[in-house]
């Protein structure tokens, strides 16, 4: 309904316009560029962070030893699960790695979960609001899934990258940490061999370290972006539909089945992606703490 109205306003567009509109961030300033802020991503990230913190810290503050409530029991289940995953992989002692893991899991899951909202619900309301405020709804952009924005996944992956470096430095000490950059993975015994292998080792190390945030961020972003795009494509099936056409009813049924199937499948994807991001972070941090 709403997208149909929006398409009416933007008579030029149709399907391409609809998809393009859905894939454009609410930006400030309004042009694309490195110094542009994606306000929608920031807002929904803030909402998700606030919700996660309110839930987690709220329960933690009132955590009862005897007779835990339902919410506490559920959170404890997740905490124990994450703690088990961490202890399986990382055998040292660390105050950081487990809270980091559960934060990643919780935040990524909640952010991904925004993809479960109907694809036009919030953007449609946003456009409607703009229209009511007397603005052109064609310029009312809104993307609500923060993890379908590469800025979010890259920001998280880079934070994880910095934590990996900090973790390695802390656990190995600076001498071993910087020494290993030039002496691993290829070991040499003579002085000449060491000098020859040092640049190769350093290059490999650079690639290894650089690949991690890139793969972490692109994997999550790609999955969520693709998922969102498929929801948009499913929504397109009845774009500009009218009740007088027979095809509308066929496409309507098809849209319902496709939407249902993809939503059900996507529940797995969002959980799995959150879990993968968490597990890889644990693995990277464990590797950073190990001597080669």
């Amino acid at each position: 309904m709403l997208q149909a109205q929006a398409a009416e306003h933007e008579s030029a567009g149709g399907m391409t316009e609809y998809i393009g509109h859905h894939l454009t961030h609410l930006r400030w300033p309004a042009q694309d560029g490195f110094w542009t802020l994606n306000l929608d991503t920031l807002f929904f990230t803030f909402v998700v962070c606030a919700a996660f913190l309110a839930l987690f810290l709220g329960v933690a503050r009132r955590a009862k030893v005897a007779n835990p409530g339902k919410v506490q029991s559920f959170l404890e289940m997740v905490v124990v699960f994450v703690d088990g995953a961490v202890k399986e992989t990382f055998h040292g002692k660390s105050k950081l790695i487990a809270p980091l893991s559960i934060t990643i899991f919780g935040l990524v899951f909640f952010m991904n979960f925004l993809d479960m909202l109907p694809v036009d619900l919030l953007p449609g309301l946003w456009m409607r609001g703009h229209e009511l405020a007397g603005h052109n709804p064609a310029h009312a952009y809104l993307r609500i899934v923060p993890t379908a924005d590469l800025s979010t996944t890259l920001g998280m992956a880079l934070t994880v990258f910095l934590l990996i470096q900090y973790f390695g430095l802390k656990h190995k000490g600076p001498a071993v940490f910087f020494g290993e950059m030039f002496t691993a993975p290829f070991h040499a015994h003579g002085t000449v061999g060491k000098i020859v292998l040092a640049p190769i080792n350093f290059l490999l190390r650079l690639i290894e370290e650089a690949v991690r945030p890139v793969s972490l961020s692109l994997r999550l972003f790609g999955n969520m972006y693709a998922g969102e795009l498929i929801f948009i494509l499913i929504a397109v099936m009845t774009l500009d539909a009218t009740l007088t056409h027979f095809s509308t009813y066929l496409l309507g049924i098809g849209q319902f089945i496709a939407g249902f199937a993809w939503t059900a499948f996507h529940i797995l994807v969002i959980t799995l992606q959150a879990f993968i991001f968490m597990m890889l972070t644990i693995v990277y941090l464990s590797m950073a703490a190990e001597r080669h």
């Binding site: 694309d32 560029g33 490195f34 110094w35 542009t36 802020l37 994606n38 991503t41 920031l42 990230t45 803030f46 962070c49 996660f52 913190l53 987690f56 810290l57 329960v59 933690a60 503050r61 955590a63 009862k64 030893v65 005897a66 835990p68 506490q72 959170l75 404890e76 905490v79 124990v80 703690d83 105050k95 950081l96 487990a98 809270p99 980091l100 559960i102 934060t103 990643i104 935040l107 923060p146 924005d149 590469l150 800025s151 979010t152 890259l154 920001g155 998280m156 880079l158 934070t159 972006y225």
Partner: protein, 156 residues
């Protein structure tokens, strides 16, 4: 699709949440879980201890009952013995008393028999004198025949 400066804010926000969770969230929940685990372990241990103690107490009670039974039997035995003793003594006393009473009676009887004999002897002498006087027809001087009479009395 191309990342912009938003990623810096996203990274910082993410780190802030991690820090808050690490500082104020995770330790509390972990502490609650571990405290509970410890309490459960303690509770189970206490239950085991209590069970063992109960078993011990049961054994002790059974022992006490056994001892008490033995004591009671002993007491009953002793009482029986005492009663028997008392009865025996009473019997012996009674026999003794009876013998004593019998002896006293015998003595009395003997005394009375002697007295009666004495009396009879005296009367026999008198009767003999009276009888002889009647037969002879005259009075016998008791003094003159004293020797004869005494002899007669002694013969009776």
């Amino acid at each position: 699709m191309i990342p912009n400066i938003t990623f810096v804010i996203q990274g910082l926000a993410f780190f802030a949440v991690v820090w808050l969770v690490m500082k104020f969230g995770w330790p509390h929940i972990m502490a609650a879980i571990e405290d509970r685990q410890q309490k459960i372990a303690e509770g189970l241990a206490a239950a085991d201890r209590a069970k063992a103690e109960l078993k011990d107490a049961d054994a002790r009670v059974a022992d006490e009952i056994k001892k008490a039974r033995a004591q009671a039997a002993e007491i009953v035995d002793k009482a029986h013995q005492q009663a028997n003793q008392i009865v025996d003594k009473a019997k012996a006393d009674a026999l003794l008393e009876a013998a004593r009473v019998k002896a006293t009676a015998q003595t009395e009887i003997d005394g009375m028999v002697g007295k009666a004999r004495e009396a009879l002897r005296g009367q026999v002498a008198t009767l003999a004198v009276q009888g002889a006087s009647k037969i002879i027809g005259r009075e016998i001087n008791a003094d003159a025949h004293k020797v004869l009479l005494d002899q007669l009395v002694a013969e009776i």
